[in-house]
Amino acid sequence: MAAAPEPGEPKERKAFKLLGFLDVENIPCARDSILYGSLGSIVAGFGHFLFTSRIKRSCDVGVGGFILVTLGCWFHCRYNYAKQRIRERIAREEIKKKILYEGTHLDPERKHNSNSSN
């Protein structure tokens, strides 16, 4: 599909995948969720250890914290991402309509201007 790179061109960078399969670079919100999850895991696990001095239970709390924080950040980020995509789609449609109707009797700006002049 892609042509082989010319001798002077830089080589294509191999996509980085966490643990070999999680494409954090190209999936929106994945990188932030994993990073916040890792931070949450460290805070939860280390905090639990400081209070209880139980290593294994602290590891379990850390893993649980990672999953919960990752999921929470993921859903929050994806919700905002979906809202943004909807706004972009509406904006694109409105720009198309504006170009299409400009100067005609269907132009909403024309209607608005005539109403304000009246």
Partner: protein, 173 residues
């Protein structure tokens, strides 16, 4: 296309869920292998069994609901402005543009010997299907002989061409 965007969104959602489940199972496996706590007299574990029944059911529901949403979105028919018929043969496609005149042509794959530099091997054809952009197109797909499948992966389309059956897919390129 919008459908492909929705499919990618669903893939990302399911992929994250799958990754976290895999991570959890891997951790549970490692903990089981490295623990020194063993009890050969355990008879029941009601709470754990309740959790590992209800939690997977909730996870499956969280995956199934967006999946069904995308499934019904792909089945939507939104007043197509153009219809093309696609008939599968061994081994070429016949396309019929009958809405505005009677254009019918066959589309054969170009053998590697006939390719020009930069052409895509196994994908280039002698007569291409021309589709309008930003307009809903209805594709009627069937087959003359055996089962085929008509697909445009980047648009998220795949429909089987079944002999004796007319399948329909509607998309906006």
């Amino acid at each position: 296309s919008p459908i492909m965007e929705e499919l990618i969104t669903f893939h990302d959602h399911a992929f994250m869920a799958m990754s976290l489940i895999s991570f959890l199972v891997l951790y549970a496996l490692l903990s089981t292998l490295t623990t020194k706590l063993t009890n050969t007299n355990i008879t029941d574990a009601q709470e754990m069994e309740t959790i590992w029944t209800i939690l997977p059911a909730i996870i499956l529901i969280l995956i199934a609901l967006p999946s069904l949403r995308v499934l019904y979105l792909t089945d939507e028919v939104n007043d197509p402005s153009f219809t093309i018929k696609s008939i599968g043969h061994q081994w070429y496609w016949t396309y019929e543009y009958t809405d505005y005149g009677g254009l019918i042509f066959n589309s054969y794959m170009l053998p590697p010997l006939f390719l020009n530099p930069g052409d895509l091997r196994l994908l280039e054809v002698d007569n291409r299907v021309v589709l309008p952009i930003e307009a809903p197109v209805r594709m009627m797909i069937t087959s003359q002989d055996v089962l085929h499948s008509w697909t445009i992966p980047t648009l998220g389309l795949k429909t089987d061409a079944v002999p004796g059956r007319l399948n329909q897919t509607v998309f906006t390129a």
